[in-house]
Chain length 193, copies 2
DNA sequence: GCTCCATTGTTGCTTAGGCAACAAAAATTC
DNA sequence: GAATTTTTGTTGCCTAAGCAACAATGGAGC
């Protein structure tokens, strides 16, 4: 159950092809690095026609974007059994998910991948925004949901990034507890009767 | 490289679908047993449409046949790097492959699967026949290749089955060495200058 | 017996994927 | 820097897979 988009009953063939491409992409990228790989490398590994690749992604950069996004969504799924609505616990898990994701991204892509950081940031904030917006639309807020969602997504990412640079990884939960009230206040939620 | 049929450049989609069905079949069969599973179970697990199943197999029995055959072919592939032509070593490995395959089949399908033994026998002998025939057609024989291939395939299977009932599994290689001359004589090969 | 429900095969129609060929853009090589 | 190869996107045509609906079969339960 994806937290953002509910699975829109997409054609099994499409699902299969995307998964094959994503899987192959991760494999090949770990062997040769992003710069050197070609679309051919990916499609050959995936056992998918090259023309089919272009039916799904504009180029390998688009696949990279999509891949980052999917991995982050998976990170969320892993940590939040029910992300459909807001609870303090869900919010806490969400913060932890962002921290862990950034930490993994940094550790995996250490060499010369500061290029990736921008992409990661963009994807993560987008997913965060969508999820938070969904939560806020189901609740009462004292601000426009779009405003609160933007502020909160930026705040979460900024804090998580800072944490990943300074704090030790063991303290994720502690860190989450620390910033939870601050983040929550960004949501501008009004208590319901 | 399959030993029997050279890979006839079959459509990637066909290959994919068959593999998905085979994989799902093995999974489901290990969970519920062959009798109780339905075609739906298999196709749902595989993520393949039920109609597509029937485009490939007449029914679950046909898939069972195909599955047994494939597993035996895999057993051969595992043990024979180059099965394209006859050598004493290839023949020895072939004998070992049959022994191991029967042993595995018996150990896995202990309960109430004597029904399967007939199917296993049929498939194994068929694959053996095809492979031996290919070998013999590349060589000089003092008999019709079809005759020699039939006799040899039956002989190999019979001996392997007897071995699986009586001898201890450790002695596969020893057993193979023991029967190798006898089996080889069945091939009716004439030494080439 | 009977109904009810699940499963089976089959069918026509739609959609996604494979393939080959192409021109254009990058890289390589020399 | 010219020539050659590789890679890239794109296209039209063909085939395989998805889907929904159907009648038919076959149990399971009453």
């Amino acid at each position: 159950m994806l937290p953002i988009k509910m699975e829109e009953k997409l054609d099994p063939r499409v699902k299969r092809t995307r998964e094959l491409l994503e899987k192959a992409f991760m494999e090949v990228i770990n062997e040769k690095g992003f710069q050197t790989i070609t679309v051919q490398d990916i499609t050959e590994r995936a056992g998918v026609n090259r023309a089919t690749f272009y039916a799904h992604f504009a180029d390998k950069f688009a696949l990279l974007d999509h891949s980052i996004r999917q991995q982050f969504i998976q990170e969320i799924d892993k940590r939040m059994l029910n992300a459909c609505h807001f609870t303090m616990d869900n919010l806490r898990n969400l913060i932890i998910a962002v921290c862990e994701f950034i930490r993994n991204a940094n550790s995996k892509c250490k060499p010369a991948q500061s290029q990736f950081e921008t992409l990661v940031e963009a994807q993560v904030k987008e997913v965060l925004y969508d999820l938070l917006l969904k939560w806020l639309e189901q609740a009462r807020t004292s601000t426009e949901p779009e405003i609160a969602a933007t502020a909160t997504s930026w705040a979460i990412y900024g804090l998580a990034l800072q944490w990943s640079h300074t704090k030790k990884p063991e303290a994720v939960e502690k860190f989450a507890d620390e910033v939870l009230p601050l983040i929550a206040s960004n949501l501008q939620l009004v208590e319901a009767a």
